[in-house]
């Protein structure tokens, strides 16, 4: 919870967390931002309803970017456009361009399953599958071609340790995941996403369905993942955004369509926003 320290210091403090994963597929971290997701003029419509209008935004490698703004301003739509979950919505039309790692995700040759392996997602409601804890982790791994039992076990242990769940569940991996508490379930969902070794994690209000203590645990986990993964998090909890994010993007509804009002360093957005709307929202005067 070190929101006011300079960004580089946060990254360094994240290193002492005893990770077992290999080092980040290297790239400069936040002090020298390098875009990993480039969004250009993204427009998103559901039938006649425009959810997002001409959003242009770069997400930087290894950083935590928080998307803030009132309900219905297109934050979740923005998030699900990045891993093409919007494909599931029948009348959803997307304009503009999204590039992940330099590759346009909407071209014919882009493989959506490979994209979703690279871009993991965690939802608001903890949703472990109604299977054993072990199988929750092995199912997606098998689907992506990891079939050796020993390898699956090793990865499972690794990601469970990374989310701090290993000590809590190592003696009951074969019990049903639904028997875990809400916070544990959400950490299992994060572990499940991490098991596929993604570069990017999209998080849609991952803490808002949890009690304050579990929420704190998950929040700490997220900030420990900084530097290792590029994280885009939607949150309604401004204090949380302020605590964990390096960058913040503020969305607002104009003429019933979501717009990006302001994007910048977290500190900048929260302490000296350039836009009046942002200032009003941050201070609680609007929204």
């Amino acid at each position: 919870m070190n929101s006011n320290k300079p960004v580089t210091a946060q990254v360094i403090s994240g290193e002492k967390s005893g990770f077992t994963l290999g080092p980040l597929q290297m790239g400069p971290v936040c002090c020298n931002p390098q875009p990993v997701i480039e969004v250009e003029n993204l427009s998103l419509r559901y039938g006649d309803k425009t959810a997002l209008d001409k959003v242009t935004l770069d997400i930087y490698r290894g950083c935590i970017t928080a998307l803030i703004g009132p309900s219905g301003c297109g934050k979740t739509s923005f998030l699900s456009a990045i891993n093409r979950l919007t494909d599931l919505i029948p009348n959803c039309v997307i304009g503009g361009r999204i590039r992940v790692d330099g590759l346009d995700i909407h071209t014919a040759e882009s493989n959506v399953q490979a994209l979703r392996q690279k871009v993991g997602m965690v939802f608001q409601k903890p949703t472990p599958f109604p299977l054993s804890i072990r199988r929750n982790l092995s199912l997606p791994l098998r689907e992506h071609g990891v079939t050796r039992r020993s390898e699956i076990d090793a990865i499972s242990e690794q990601v469970l340790r990374d989310v701090g769940l290993w000590d809590e569940v190592c003696d009951r991996l074969d019990t049903v995941a639904l028997s875990l508490s809400g916070g544990q379930q959400q950490r299992l969902c994060i572990a499940r996403a991490l098991a596929l070794n993604p570069q990017i994690l999209l998080m849609d209000e991952p803490c808002s369905a949890l009690d304050p203590i579990a929420s704190g645990v998950v929040e700490d986990l997220i900030s420990h993942l900084r530097g290792r993964y590029t994280i885009v998090i939607v949150t309604h909890n401004l204090a949380q955004a302020r605590r964990i994010a390096n960058y913040a993007a503020f969305f607002w509804v104009k003429e019933r369509a979501g717009h990006l009002v302001e994007f910048g360093r977290c500190q900048h957005i929260f302490e000296s926003p350039t836009h009046q709307l942002t200032a009003a929202y941050i201070s609680g005067a609007r929204g």
Binding site: L88, R116, F123, T127, F129, P130, L139, P140, E143
Partner: protein, 292 residues
Amino acid sequence: MIWSKRYILFPLKLTDSLLQGILRVGAVISALAMLLISLFLIVESWPILGQISPVRFFTDASWHPLEGAYHLMPMLAGTLYASAGALLLAIPLGIASALFIVYYASPRLAKWYKRLVELLAGIPSVVFGFWGLTTLVPLINQLHPPGASLLAAILILTLMILPTITLTAYSALMAVPVEFLLNATALGLSRWGMIHGVAFPAARTGIIAGIILAMARAIGETMAVLMVAGNVVQYPDGLFDPIRTLASNIVLEMGYAMGDHRAMLFVSGLLLMLMLMMLSGMAGWLGRNRCA
């Protein structure tokens, strides 16, 4: 957890106690019906059950009830072969149809296909039998006489239980929370990966309930089977041999049976009921909800 408790104590109000009374009466009536029917079956079959050992149903030389030979095994085997064959065909077909409706068909096609299956469920069994007698049996006869056979019974039963399995599997799959599917998709699972890895385990209890219903219908079905199965009391040597099921036997002989013979038919009914209870108990045990 408190919500896993069936009974939550509320202070009783007048409407509550009224409703409770009505529900109680309903429950008592259903329970009584079950008890009375069982009692009736036992009372009616008592003349023979009290007289000879039930072992003889399985060891007598043949089914000649007028001469005191009460071998039930061929008919029991006929019932089991026909039902098992029908389930073997209808379970994969029904589940595949349900998967098709829920996950693969376009919305319009799914709607029409589902309506068609619902219509199939609405065809009376005697019409199935009629169709089987005039169309299916002659067809099988061309393949291998006599036509009226175990195979005909299996095919007719398959058609009759297919909609039950399809529609219950459909409801079970539709009840799978959309979050599971979203999560599975977000993890990059293929459609089939999502279906067999997530949707299927989540819908398992419902699908098994449908299979139990279908099994009960297959075992108890009388009219349609009677019309196409040939009704010879024998162990079938193959699919083309005629069979007689326990249920058909009751209908065929009830008209003229008297005394011990009549009691014997009630014993067959009792046996059918016991068999169904055992099988559904078994299926329920196999399908017990491991998530609970």
